[in-house]
């Protein structure tokens, strides 16, 4: 007597598997719908607009975008313009210095704050508050503080050092210092907080181990903690780098590219070409070069992020 399988007994178990595995596209559709804005932004805005820009950089668009092509003319003019060459040099100098100083100062301040001092909260607030201000504000205030007639130079002279001269804003050789002072004043706060967070993530036992091994604190920070914080440094670098490449507002507010063209920056060149010189194509050519530079920088980053280690 063959026992007929009781039909409802198996009901609770999962329904029979479909004949064929569903195509990967239909696999949990909701996540794709939810990611639609990201996909749209990534494709339409960032890829679309970049392509639009690159394409128009080969045209002779003046005030309005138009598509009559002139080949590499815009690029030839770009690289023959001394202002562009100067701005590339300037962004290189400012970029590297600002990036290195931001990371070093950020780490240093974070290490200081990490010494279990009493007023940590207050000091942290003091270092981070400039981040909440706009570049217009930063530029205006630092213009004042660095102004020779009523700024630092004037105050120090009142204190008796008559020969003291500190006028970076008007001296092409030292204006980069003024830019760095203002830029670092604004940006180091965020880097410090990120580094401090990273420091607090370091396993307490490692600190004990170094004390047992008799390794002084500064060596521990340098040779042990810094390597551990490599991912934090990478993220901080991305955040700082995006600010540096697009450096525009601060320079306009503080020196507006002057004195002479000592603080000319690529973003300034792009804006000036597009709107003051009403030569869109020239602006697009300049920004295409900036995009290429970013691509070159970004490839190592994305390899680090998604290459090697799969998500554990």
């Amino acid at each position: 007597m063959t026992a007929l399988p009781d039909p409802d007994r198996g009901a609770v178990r999962a329904k029979a598997a479909p004949a064929r595995r569903p195509s990967r596209l239909l696999h949990n559709p909701m996540s794709k719908v939810a990611a639609m804005p990201m996909i749209a932004t990534a494709l339409v805005i960032f890829v679309g607009c970049s392509l639009w820009t690159v394409v128009h950089s080969f045209t002779d668009s003046k005030l309005l975008p138009r598509l009559n092509f002139v080949g590499f003319e815009q690029y030839e003019r770009l690289w023959s313009s001394s202002r562009w060459i100067t701005s590339v040099e300037n962004i290189a100098i400012y970029g590297v210095t600002a990036l290195v100083l931001s990371l070093v100062l950020g780490f240093l301040f974070a290490a200081l704050l990490d010494q279990r001092i009493r007023a940590e909260g207050i000091f942290r607030t003091i270092i981070l508050y400039p981040y909440a201000l706009s570049f217009i504000v930063t530029g205006l205030v630092w213009q004042w503080v660095l102004n020779p007639d009523f700024g630092i130079q004037n105050v120090v002279r009142d204190l008796g050092f008559a020969s003291f001269s500190f006028d970076p804003l008007n001296n092409p050789d030292t204006v980069m210092i003024a830019l760095l002072m203002a830029g670092l004043w604004q940006g180091t706060g965020l880097v410090t907080v990120i580094m401090l967070a990273g420091l607090r993530g370091v396993d307490e036992d490692i600190w004990k181990a170094t004390r047992v091994d008799g390794i002084p604190a500064w060596k521990t920070y340098l040779f042990v903690v810094v390597p551990i914080l490599r991912p934090v440094f990478v993220t901080a670098t991305v955040l700082i780098a995006t600010g540096i490449v697009k450096l525009y507002d601060l320079v306009v507010a503080l020196t507006n590219g002057g004195p002479g063209s000592a603080t000319q920056m690529p973003a300034l060149y792009v804006y000036d070409a597009m709107f003051a010189k009403q030569n869109l194509a020239q602006g697009f050519a300049a920004s295409t070069i900036m995009l290429l530079a970013v691509l070159v920088l970004l490839i190592p980053w994305s390899i680090h992020e998604f290459g090697g280690k799969k998500r554990g």
């Binding site: 181990a209 047992v212 008799g214 551990i228």
Partner: protein, 369 residues
């Protein structure tokens, strides 16, 4: 190595680590209370206790990572109470191993020595020696991330080894490992201790590690040492109720009752003439304790002076031996027999107790009589 200066006083001749009247309070909370331990050279002392009993705190005090609020610590005859950890001639292995993650095994071992400005060849020699002892040869160029738990553990030991430290400190080093690996490393640690003959102080909450590794065990509770003795002595003659309950798995059976002359009267009455009282017995409320493995069953119990019958609630066969969970006078009563016993759940068995293997504790002071 510490340049051996003559010890402060002759009392410390063969003492490796001496803890004298040690006190530690965080604010008003006393974590360590008036501790005194003398650890002999080459001895393997285990600090055993539940979490929060102060064992790790004590270890950190010895290492110099925590500063006591009272008392002194001597290592190799030197008063190191105020000394920096690195000046105490100690090496420490942490629960998380605390290896320097971005350095290879070789640089992990040599980082401390380089910092102490030892000549290059010295460093090479010591690293080679440590690698040879701990079988780290093939691993020298690997990063900690690429090592197994056991290998990392050995590198952590190696880091202390290369500095020729006098005292090794271990802070629950095996608790992150799986059971099988833990057993292997226990044996390796034992073998290491025998070959190095260094003093070792080992903190754990696992009594099996304590019993197998220790020359002596210090059982701690609430910052106070309950008992400091050899493993078997603690097993056979626990100093108080807490120690009795702590050591032994499954724990000792306790029966409440009273002492009349030399007889225990409770749910069962046990004549205690054969019991080695430490002082003249006096009547009063007591607690009678018998370990599950010392309970005799059915025919084996025939020769016992005291017998009773209990019903078996649960049977736990574990291969090597079997546990019986019964109830006696409303309390749980545990028995451990050899693995092949035929007893089934629900049987009623006769149970015999040999007074000589039992323990008696005063009800109030919980101290062994």
């Amino acid at each position: 190595m510490l340049d051996t200066v003559p010890p402060v006083s002759s009392a410390l001749d063969d003492i490796s680590v001496s803890i004298r009247d040690l006190e530690l309070a965080f604010g008003s909370v006393k974590v360590l209370k008036d501790l005194n331990i003398d650890i002999h050279k080459g001895e393997f002392l285990v600090l055993l206790g539940a979490s929060g009993c102060g064992k790790s705190t004590l270890l950190n005090c010895i290492a110099g990572l925590l500063e006591p609020t009272g008392g002194q610590i001597f290592i190799e005859g030197q008063n190191v109470t105020w000394a920096e950890p690195s000046e105490r001639g100690i090496g420490m292995v942490f629960q998380s191993y605390a290896l320097y993650p971005q350095m290879s095994v070789k640089s992990n071992l040599s980082f401390g020595l380089k910092n102490a400005k030892l000549p290059k060849d010295q460093i090479e020699k010591r690293v080679a020696r440590a690698a040879e002892i701990l079988h780290l040869g093939p691993l020298l160029d690997r990063k900690p991330g690429a090592l197994s738990g056991g290998q990392r553990q050995r590198v952590a030991i190696g880091r202390a080894l290369v500095r020729d430290v006098d005292v090794f400190l271990f802070d629950e080093p095996l608790s992150n490992l799986d059971a099988k690996l833990r057993a292997e490393l226990r044996v390796e640690l034992k073998r290491l201790h025998q070959s190095l003959a260094n003093t070792m102080i080992y903190v754990t909450h696992d009594q099996v590690e304590a019993m197998t590794l220790a020359d002596r065990i210090a059982i701690m509770k609430g910052g106070v040492i309950q008992q400091l003795a050899a493993p078997l002595e603690i097993y056979n003659t626990p100093a108080n109720l807490y120690v009795a309950g702590f050591i032994g798995a499954p724990p000792m059976n306790f029966i409440q009752g009273a002492l009349r002359g030399t007889d225990f009267e409770g749910i069962i009455n046990v004549p205690m003439q054969g019991y080695g009282f430490s002082a003249a017995p006096k009547d009063g409320a007591v607690v009678f304790g018998i370990r599950p493995e010392h309970v005799l069953v059915n025919d084996a119990a025939a020769s016992c002076a005291v017998q009773t019958r209990v019903v078996v609630d649960v049977v736990e066969p574990m291969g090597a031996d079997t546990l019986l969970w019964c109830t006696l006078g409303g309390d749980e009563f545990r028995i451990r027999l050899d693995g092949q016993t035929p007893i089934r759940q629900g049987d009623t068995i006769t149970v015999g107790i040999d007074p000589a293997r039992a323990s008696l504790f005063d009800k109030e002071t919980e101290i062994r009589l």
